[in-house]
C-alpha cells in the first residue's frame, strides 16, 4: 500500500462527510432552485449528481396532480362501506416515498401519518389528515412549477409529424424501452394540438407517465386513425 511509504507524522485522515459531498455536488451541477419545503441536500444523499435529482423532481411534479386526485378519489368513499382503506394506505405510502426522494420531507412526514392511520384503521384520523395532505400536495405542486418551462408551445403544423412520433412511441412501448418512450412523449408534448386531439394527447401523456401500456396503445390507435 502506498500509505506504507508515506511519513506517518504528515498523514491526515479525512472521512468524507455525506452532507459536504452533497453540497459540493450541488455547487458543481445544475442549479437547483430554492423551493420552500424541499431539502435538496437530503435528496442529494441518494443521488451522485444534481441532474438526477432535478429530473426526479420534474417527474414528481408531472405526477403529483394525478396522485393527489387518486387520494381524493379514495377519500371521497370514506363514509361508505367500501372505503378502499388498503389501496388508500398504499397510495399515501407511495406519496411518502416519492416526497422523501426529492427532499420534500415535511410532505413525506404528513403522508406517513396518513399511512399509519390507515394501517391502524383509524378512520377519524384519516378524515382529519387527508384534507390537509391534499392541500399540501396542491401547495407543493405550485411551488415545484418553477421547474417546468412556461414557454408557449407551437401549434403542430404537419400532422404527419404527429403520426410519425406516435408510431415511434408505439414501437418504444412494444420493445419496453421506457427511456425512449419518455423522450418521444416529451417531443409530442412540445406541441399544441387542435382541442379534440389535445384531450387525447394529454390522456396519452398520463398513461405514459403511469406506465399504463395497454391504455397507451389504445390512445395511439385512436390518434392514428
Amino acid at each position: 500500500m502506498i500509505r506504507d511509504f508515506l511519513p506517518e507524522d504528515l498523514l491526515e485522515y479525512h472521512e468524507t462527510n455525506a452532507t459536504d459531498e452533497a453540497r459540493k455536488n450541488r455547487v458543481k451541477q445544475v442549479e437547483l432552485p430554492e423551493i420552500e419545503g424541499v431539502d435538496w441536500d437530503y435528496a442529494l444523499l441518494h443521488f451522485p449528481e444534481a441532474n438526477m435529482v432535478f429530473q426526479t423532481a420534474v417527474d414528481y411534479y408531472d405526477s403529483i396532480g394525478y396522485e393527489r386526485d387518486e387520494v381524493l378519489r379514495y377519500y371521497n368513499e370514506i363514509d361508505s362501506d367500501s372505503f378502499p382503506i388498503e389501496d388508500y394506505r398504499i397510495k399515501v405510502h407511495a406519496i411518502k416515498s416519492m416526497s422523501n426522494t426529492i427532499g420534500a420531507t415535511a410532505l413525506g412526514g404528513l403522508a406517513k401519518l396518513c399511512e399509519y392511520a390507515a394501517r391502524d384503521n383509524q378512520i377519524d384520523r384519516i378524515k382529519v389528515l387527508t384534507p390537509v395532505l391534499i392541500d399540501e400536495m396542491d401547495i407543493m405542486k405550485d411551488r415545484l412549477s418553477v421547474l417546468s418551462s412556461e414557454v408557449e408551445k407551437p401549434m403542430i403544423e404537419d400532422m404527419d409529424e404527429m403520426f410519425a412520433l406516435l408510431e415511434m412511441l408505439k414501437m418504444s412501448l412494444r420493445s419496453h424501452n421506457s427511456d425512449q418512450s419518455d423522450k418521444i412523449m416529451k417531443q409530442i408534448m412540445a406541441f399544441r394540438y387542435p382541442d379534440d386531439i389535445q384531450v387525447k394527447i394529454d390522456q396519452l401523456n398520463i398513461h405514459i407517465l403511469n406506465f399504463e401500456e395497454d391504455e397507451a396503445f389504445m390512445d395511439i390507435d385512436v390518434l392514428q386513425m
Binding site: L45, H46, F47, P48, M52, Q55, T56, D59, Y60, S63, E86, D87, I90, H93, A94, K96, S97, M98, N100, T101, D158, M159, D160, E161, M162, F163, A164, L165, E167, M168, K170, M171, R174, S175, H176, S178, D179, D182, L209, N210, F211, E212, E213, Q224
Partner: protein, 254 residues
C-alpha cells in the same frame, strides 16, 4: 450511422431483424400502413427501407406507393415469400425494390452493405460487446420506477413494471438477470409476486432484491423470511444498490 426504416407487422413482438441491425445501424420500426409509412419517411428520412412483406395483402400496396411518391430512388429491400413479391411485382421493375426470398441475418446484412458500399464481412464478424445485464424493476409508483431507471441504466438494461402482471409479461419476453421488487404493492404484493416468479422453473434462481418503505422490525423480518438476495429501505442510495447488485452478480459468477 446509416438510417434504416424497418416496415412490417410488429404487433406481437419487435423484430429479430432489428435486434442485430440496430447494433450497426440507426433503425426505426414502422407499422405496415401506407399512412404511417408516409409520415415516418418525412420525419425519419431513412437511407434505406427494409420491409417484411410476408404479412402483406393487396391493401398494403399503399406502402409501396408512399415510398415511391416520397423518393423513387430510395432503396428498398423486401423479404418474405416469392408469392408476396409477385403481388407487388410492378414496383420491382424500376429497380428501386430488391427482394430476398430466403432471408438470413447474413444475407440481409450483405444486401444492406451492398447498398451502402460497406464491408459486410466486418459487420458479420464483428464481436459484439458483452451485453449489459438485464434488470426488471417492479414498483407501483412511476416516479420511483423512473428514479431507479435513472440510477441503473448506465450500467444495466432496465425494464420497468408497475405490477406483478407486467413483471411476468416482461420476464416472458426477455429473461432478467435480477429483479428489484417493491414489497408493498396493491392487488398483488411483493411477497405474492415473488411466489409467482419462483413457481416458474426458468426463474427459480433469479436473484431478487426487495425495496421496502417501512423500516420497522416486524416488516423487515417479514421481508427477510422470503430470503431475498438483498433488501433496501426506500429511497435507496445509488452507490449502495449498485454495489449490492454487483456483489450478487460476482457471487453468481463464482
Amino acid at each position: 450511422m446509416r438510417k434504416i426504416l424497418i416496415v412490417g407487422d410488429f404487433s406481437n413482438d419487435t423484430s429479430d431483424v432489428n435486434s442485430y441491425l440496430e447494433q450497426h445501424f440507426h433503425t426505426q420500426l414502422c407499422t405496415d400502413s401506407g399512412k404511417i409509412v408516409k409520415s415516418m419517411l418525412k420525419m425519419y428520412v431513412p437511407d434505406l427501407v427494409l420491409m417484411d412483406i410476408d404479412g402483406f395483402e393487396n391493401v398494403n400496396e399503399d406502402v409501396f406507393e408512399a415510398i415511391q411518391e416520397y423518393d423513387p430512388s430510395l432503396p428498398v429491400i423486401t423479404y418474405g415469400r416469392e408469392l408476396k413479391k409477385q403481388m407487388f411485382i410492378s414496383y420491382y421493375y424500376s429497380g428501386q425494390c430488391r427482394h430476398i426470398p430466403q432471408p438470413s441475418r447474413e444475407i440481409i446484412i450483405r444486401e444492406i452493405c451492398k447498398e451502402f458500399n460497406m464491408n459486410a464481412d466486418a459487420i458479420i464478424n464483428a464481436i459484439v460487446d458483452t451485453e449489459k445485464k438485464h434488470i426488471i424493476v417492479v414498483d407501483d409508483n412511476p416516479v420511483l420506477l423512473r428514479n431507479m431507471r435513472n440510477m441503473l441504466q448506465d450500467k444495466y438494461r432496465v425494464t420497468l413494471a408497475t405490477s406483478a402482471a407486467q413483471c411476468m409479461k416482461a420476464m416472458g419476453q426477455d429473461s432478467p438477470d435480477l429483479i428489484i421488487l417493491d414489497y408493498e404493492m396493491p392487488v398483488v404484493d411483493g411477497k405474492q409476486t415473488l411466489e409467482m416468479i419462483r413457481a416458474e422453473e426458468d426463474y427459480r434462481n433469479v436473484p431478487v432484491i426487495f425495496l421496502t418503505g417501512i423500516a420497522d422490525k416486524e416488516h423487515v423480518d417479514a421481508v427477510l423470511d422470503l430470503k431475498p438476495a438483498g433488501y433496501f429501505v426506500k429511497p435507496p442510495m445509488q452507490t449502495k444498490i449498485i454495489n449490492a447488485i454487483e456483489n450478487i452478480f460476482l457471487k453468481q459468477g463464482e
